[in-house]
Symmetry: C3
């Protein structure tokens, strides 16, 4: 029987751009993990759920049999060259649109428009709040920062479909939910401009968030796991509940990204706050075949109109395909089980798939 997700339109609601630089094997492996150190002796980042998914979904796209050894895959990849690989992977992902977080810009990453061309789909911009602040800050003073940031945000959102906060990385989600007052923002900006370093002051992070509420675009928030720069226990989306409460009257959508391993908490928030959404994010990409189990857990409390797809793909074109192929496959398994259980009709199941795959994102982000 054809899967319920055959030809399912997919909008990748949160990704970055790719590198087309040649990569040696160690560099390739590091792009496949959230770790940033060489792997422990006797282990490999590609001997993992993600590595299995790479060999399953990507090897055939390079004309190799599924499950070809990693070494063979990497050899074949080098022979084809980065541009050919990028084109094949992104076309195979079959995306209808991509939302691209354009920062941070590391060396060798292609422009958002190049990514869109490769994927043969519109690549919309997502404004990264903290990066924008870090770009704006130099040259402003304590008293000028807020206005300069507001002007820059105004300009940035004009060409974007969402904003994004990484407050989870810079402080944790246990933030005071209140909008900081102007004099607090000036004082915090003054301290930051004097001391330097990246933006991690909680007053300024809150100011970014409330500025994003004012801007009115959906706000994507990193929650849950990521690289080791995130304090996991402080990235539990349940800690955002006071901010969800405070922003409820404004109606601006809050899209909780990743969420794992706190995705059930995110599902609850999405079930009781009309403006809160849960995005499966990085989990689908990193968990390989276990995405099936985790997708099942995402689809518990959250109404079906509240769950979104994204890949958080970054650097490797393979990651866009792995996430897309795995999402279609795992969502099919979750929904086919629901149908087999007698809990939904096939038509209902297909409708849920279409919402999660693209319908919810199109509506929330205002894509045509």
């Amino acid at each position: 029987m054809a899967p319920l997700t055959e030809d399912l339109p997919l909008i990748d609601g949160h990704c970055h751009t790719i590198t087309t630089a040649p990569l040696d094997d160690a560099a390739f492996a590091l792009w496949c993990t959230e770790a940033d150190e060489p792997s422990a002796a006797g282990t490999s980042y590609l001997d993992s759920r993600l590595g299995l998914a790479l060999r399953r979904w990507c090897a055939p796209v390079l004309d190799l049999p599924a499950h070809a050894p990693v070494e063979e895959y990497l050899r074949r990849r080098r022979r084809l060259g980065p541009d050919e690989v990028a084109g094949r992977m992104l076309r195979a992902a079959g995306l209808s649109a991509l939302l691209v977080d354009t920062g941070p810009v590391a060396g060798g990453l292609v422009d958002r428009s190049v990514l869109g061309t490769l994927a043969q789909a519109p690549a919309h911009a997502v404004v990264r709040l903290e990066l924008l602040a870090e770009q704006v800050a130099p040259g402003t003073g304590a008293d000028g920062f807020a206005d300069a940031f507001a002007a820059a945000l105004d300009e940035a959102v004009a060409g974007a479909v969402a904003t994004k906060s990484i407050a989870a990385y810079r402080h944790g989600l246990d933030l005071d939910p209140a909008r900081p007052r102007a004099h607090e923002v000036s004082a915090a900006a003054g301290r930051w401009l004097r001391d330097g370093g990246r933006l991690s002051d909680p007053v300024l992070l809150r100011h970014m968030l409330w500025s994003a509420v004012d801007a009115g675009l959906p706000i994507q928030l990193h929650t849950g796991f990521g690289d080791r720069d995130v304090a996991l226990a402080r990235a539990d989306p349940a800690l955002l509940q006071p901010f969800c409460e405070a922003t409820l009257p404004f109606g601006v959508p809050l899209v909780l990204l990743h969420c794992y391993p706190y995705h059930r908490q995110a599902g609850w928030l999405a079930s009781v706050y009309p403006h809160v959404y849960a995005d499966v994010g990085l989990g689908v990409t990193q968990l390989g075949a276990r995405a099936t189990a985790v997708l099942g857990e995402f689809l518990e409390l959250a109404p079906f109109g509240k769950v979104l797809y994204s890949s958080d793909a970054y650097g490797l074109p393979e990651l866009y395909l792995i996430a897309a192929a795995q999402l279609r496959h795992s969502l099919d398994l979750v929904l086919a089980e629901t149908v087999a259980d007698g809990a939904a009709s096939p038509a209902d199941a297909r409708r849920v798939a279409e919402q999660v795959g693209a319908g919810n994102a199109a509506r929330v982000y205002g894509l045509s």
Copy 2:
């Protein structure tokens, strides 16, 4: 093969009463969710696991095919009228007994005895501690509150089978476990009587809990998810561990309700504290077919004599049936998998089902 849960006796260990007021479609949908705001544009609270369960389990009881569209279901429901629907649903639930939390009393809710008549089963009372305190407080003074509450509780428990605390809603479960001293209670009562508002002072909440320990009936405690009035991160039952420790010598059963998404933590508490129990509660009702996965997780560490069934049904007669039908179905799937795996005999599996369905509740609450 007949399911392991065929004709399984069920005691609904925690529910509320129903409304028989006519409901428009929007009101019906709000009774089906823990949210209290209109759903986001483009989404519906009935396009959810609960909505699918409604169409599966309730549509046939109204002479419609399973999975009939929601609109058709609501039309048919209106045609039959609230009394006919209530009777059909509650009879179809096939309950042996119900434990009814009689507060808060919203407009249009029927009396506990009416619910019992509709369900053709005894409807026992559960005393809601905070509500009782709020009813008693007016007219008492700081020094008189404790005695007045004690007298009211004495009277209330005489006709009840359990008490219930919603300290999770009013403060969070991170309470000092110690019994407050008399002068602390007086001082806290004085502040509350002066300032008004609902009861949320942690000293008074602790006083309610310790009064319930003295009263000797099993104490039901809200834990885990609920409506957005609960701070989810502070409703983790693991935060109750100091209170479990403090009350161990008294032997009064503590029944942790709902627990999700912290039900594994609840299962551990039930496994190491003889007087602690885990009740599947609202999860079975809200999660529809995903109750199977969650029930499996409930039945991990907790001994089988420690897991109880309830629906937390409230308002809609459909919710009593959805919970009961889903529990029987999901418990059958969990146990049939155990048998198919070779991990239990069918006789053992049936015995576990009987304990979870009604045997444990009958023993813990002293029902004949």
Copy 3:
């Protein structure tokens, strides 16, 4: 088809020794649970997932049919006698090696070498840090404690393959990650020597951990559930992240034991910190057939080279067999599902099984 785990070599990476004292039925049941109080009226610790696993895996070893009633099992056990039962169980476990935490020494526990003889496998020593400190402390003074502990640890690790911390029990994992300074250690030792009691001072617990880092052997850390002496919410391995960060430059392996119900958090730590490992531990033993679900969750983010097997078996020889048999069976189910899903080849699946069963432990602990 033969399971993927047929004849799978297993190293039990963390266990204790057994008692061969005759046990009455109540004592036997208490060895099967993390509880330390008599079970609640109407319940039994053996009417549980562990009890089902006992009847499944151990009854045939005593020449009874699988699922024989507990009473029959206990009768047969008494007839055979403790030595015969111990020998049969430990041989049936089919272990290649055991790592034995030799403390605390309760009455009637056999020596580590006896355990090894019964299991027909090498039984390596694991040094329990807090116990060593408690043995060393008497007779040292505030200023002499650190040197005396260092000398004792030097001697102990010479004959051992790992150290072990139960800081989770004595304080919680929310410890300051910094290495305490000498004068802080002296002061804390002075307070402890004066006040007596078991070692629970966080400065001393940190001193133990950093001494273990200096010693260079892999450090096993209790995380997650255990008996009720552990504060569950403070045993979340995510709380260890600052210590993982602080110890990263040293490369000493940190093996997170048990982890449940926070095993996904542990898997993330193992995925981003090269020196961090996740050990399935007590979960496999206590969860019976549900170990399958939990193993699946362990094998999500953590690379396959980072997941280890252990039983935490203690007291009853049955527990070594239950854990070993259940691990082989559940790992087979998890991996067979992966293969059936098309996500891995059978050869890859077998390789993962060999790593989790013994390969990772052999490498991390330096066993030949």
